[in-house]
C-alpha cells in the first residue's frame, strides 16, 4: 500500500552516527542508548548543523509532531520513524494528528510521510499489557473503518480484508507482528478515510482528559471502547456492513467477538456524559461524515441506550 522504505534494526544500527540524531520517548530511552548508540536530543528542538537524518523512536503522538516539525523546520533532513508501540500507524501515514488546546489539529500532506519507517520488534516487550490491548483496538479501528469507508475502492478493500484475516490470528496483547499490521492498516485507511469511531475519539479525547485526568484517556483507549458499539450501529443501520464483509469473505461473528473483547463497559459509562454533551461536535467531525452509514443527531440514543449490547 506504500512505497515507503522499511528498515530493520540492522539497518538502523548502520546509519552514520555523525550525521544522525534521535528523538525518543522516555520509556525506550535506555533501550535505544544501549541498542543504537545515537546521540539523543530533546524532541522538537532545533537540530545542530550537519544532521542529515532524524530518527524518531516513539508512539504516534511524538511521531506526528516530528512529521510536522520536520516539514516546517528541516525539510531537507531525512525522517525515519520507528514506533515504540503499534496502533497509530503514524510511521506509515501522510496524516499528522496533533493535540492543540484540547482539540485535534489534523494535517494531510504527502510530504508528512516519513522517508522510511523502522521496525524494532523487541520494543513490543516494553509495552505494558493494558496499553498493548488498547493499541490493538486502535489498529482494528483503522482497518475496519478504512475497509468500510465509502471512499474505499475494491482493490483497497481486498488488501485490507487480507490484513484483517491476519489480525484475527493475533492475540489482543503484545506481539511484535502488530507493528507491521498496524503500519499497513494505517496506510490503508489513509487512502480512504475513517468513520465515527475516529470522530468520537478526536472530539472526546481532550474533553475527557480535562474532566477525568486520572482516566488515562487517549486515542487508542477511545477507539477500543467505541469500536464495538459503532460496528454494531453500522451493522444494524444498513445491510452494507454485512454485505461488504460477506463479499470479502470476512467472518462477521468472529470480528464482532474480538471487538466485544475490546469493549470496556465501565469506561464506556464514564465516557457517555461527554458523548452526549459533544455529540453535535462529533457529527461535524470530518471522520464522522465519511462513516459507512449515516450518523444522525438521533443516533446518540443508540449509544446512550446501549442498544448494541
Amino acid at each position: 500500500m506504500t512505497e515507503q522504505r522499511v528498515l530493520n534494526l540492522h539497518d538502523l544500527r548502520n546509519l552514520p552516527r555523525e550525521t544522525t540524531t534521535a528523538w525518543v520517548t522516555p520509556s525506550v530511552r535506555s533501550r535505544v542508548e544501549a541498542g543504537l548508540g545515537f546521540t539523543l536530543r530533546p524532541p522538537l528542538q532545533p537540530l545542530p548543523s550537519g544532521v542529515q537524518t532524524l530518527v524518531v523512536i516513539a508512539g504516534g503522538t511524538l511521531i506526528d509532531e516530528a512529521k510536522v516539525w520536520r516539514l516546517e523546520n528541516a525539510p531537507l533532513v531525512k525522517l525515519i520513524a520507528v514506533p515504540s508501540i503499534w496502533g497509530s500507524g503514524a510511521e506509515a501515514s501522510p496524516i499528522a494528528v496533533r493535540n492543540r488546546n484540547g482539540k485535534k489539529d489534523i494535517r494531510i500532506d504527502p510530504k508528512l510521510l516519513p522517508d522510511a519507517r523502522g521496525v524494532w520488534p523487541e520494543l513490543a516487550a516494553s509495552v505494558p499489557t493494558p496499553r498493548a490491548r488498547m493499541a490493538c483496538g486502535d489498529c482494528w479501528a483503522h482497518a475496519l473503518e478504512g475497509f468500510l469507508s465509502p471512499l474505499a475502492g475494491d482493490p483497497l478493500r481486498l488488501e485490507i480484508s487480507k490484513l484483517i484475516r491476519q489480525m484475527l490470528r493475533l492475540p489482543l496483547a503484545g506481539d511484535p507482528a502488530w507493528f507491521e499490521l498496524s503500519a499497513r492498516a494505517c496506510a490503508g485507511q489513509a487512502q480512504a478515510s475513517v468513520g465515527v469511531v475516529h470522530g468520537i475519539a478526536h472530539v472526546l479525547e481532550g474533553a475527557l482528559q480535562a474532566q477525568q485526568p486520572a482516566g488515562d484517556w487517549n486515542h487508542a483507549k477511545l477507539c477500543s471502547i467505541f469500536l464495538f458499539p459503532v460496528m454494531r450501529f453500522n451493522q444494524q443501520a444498513s445491510g452494507k456492513w454485512q454485505n461488504l464483509l460477506q463479499q470479502y469473505e470476512l467472518p462477521a461473528d468472529t470480528i464482532l467477538k474480538v471487538l466485544r473483547e475490546l469493549f470496556d463497559c465501565h469506561a464506556f459509562d464514564l465516557a457517555i456524559p461527554a458523548l452526549s454533551v459533544h455529540w453535535m461536535d462529533i457529527l461535524r467531525d470530518p471522520c464522522t461524515r465519511t462513516n459507512s452509514t449515516t450518523v444522525r443527531p438521533s443516533s446518540l440514543d443508540y449509544f446512550v441506550g446501549k442498544v448494541f449490547l
Partner: protein, 81 residues
C-alpha cells in the same frame, strides 16, 4: 413517509440544519456543512434511504436539493407523492 419528507429529514440530519433553515430550493453554497465530506455523507444517506447509489460524477454535479430530486426522479423515484 413521503419521499419529499424522507429527503428533507435526511438532509437536515446530514447537514445539521434546523426545520426553519431547510428549503427545497437550497443551494449547496448556502449550506456551510455541504463540503466534500458532506457530499460523501449525502451520497451514503441517499443510498440508505432511496436505495440509489450516486455515481461520483452525479454526486459532484449536485448543486442543490432540486438537483438531488431531479436525479432521483430520473431513476424512477417519485417526488410528486
Amino acid at each position: 413517509m413521503k419521499n419529499r419528507d424522507k429527503l428533507k429529514q435526511l438532509l437536515m440530519d446530514i447537514f445539521l440544519l434546523s426545520e426553519t433553515e431547510f428549503r427545497f430550493d437550497l443551494k449547496r453554497e448556502e449550506i456551510p456543512t455541504w463540503d466534500s465530506m458532506g457530499t460523501v455523507a449525502m451520497a451514503v444517506g441517499i443510498n440508505e434511504t432511496f436505495n440509489y447509489h450516486f455515481t461520483p460524477a452525479e454526486a459532484m454535479s449536485v448543486n442543490g436539493v432540486e438537483d438531488i430530486i431531479r436525479i432521483l426522479e430520473s431513476k424512477g423515484i417519485p417526488f410528486h407523492d
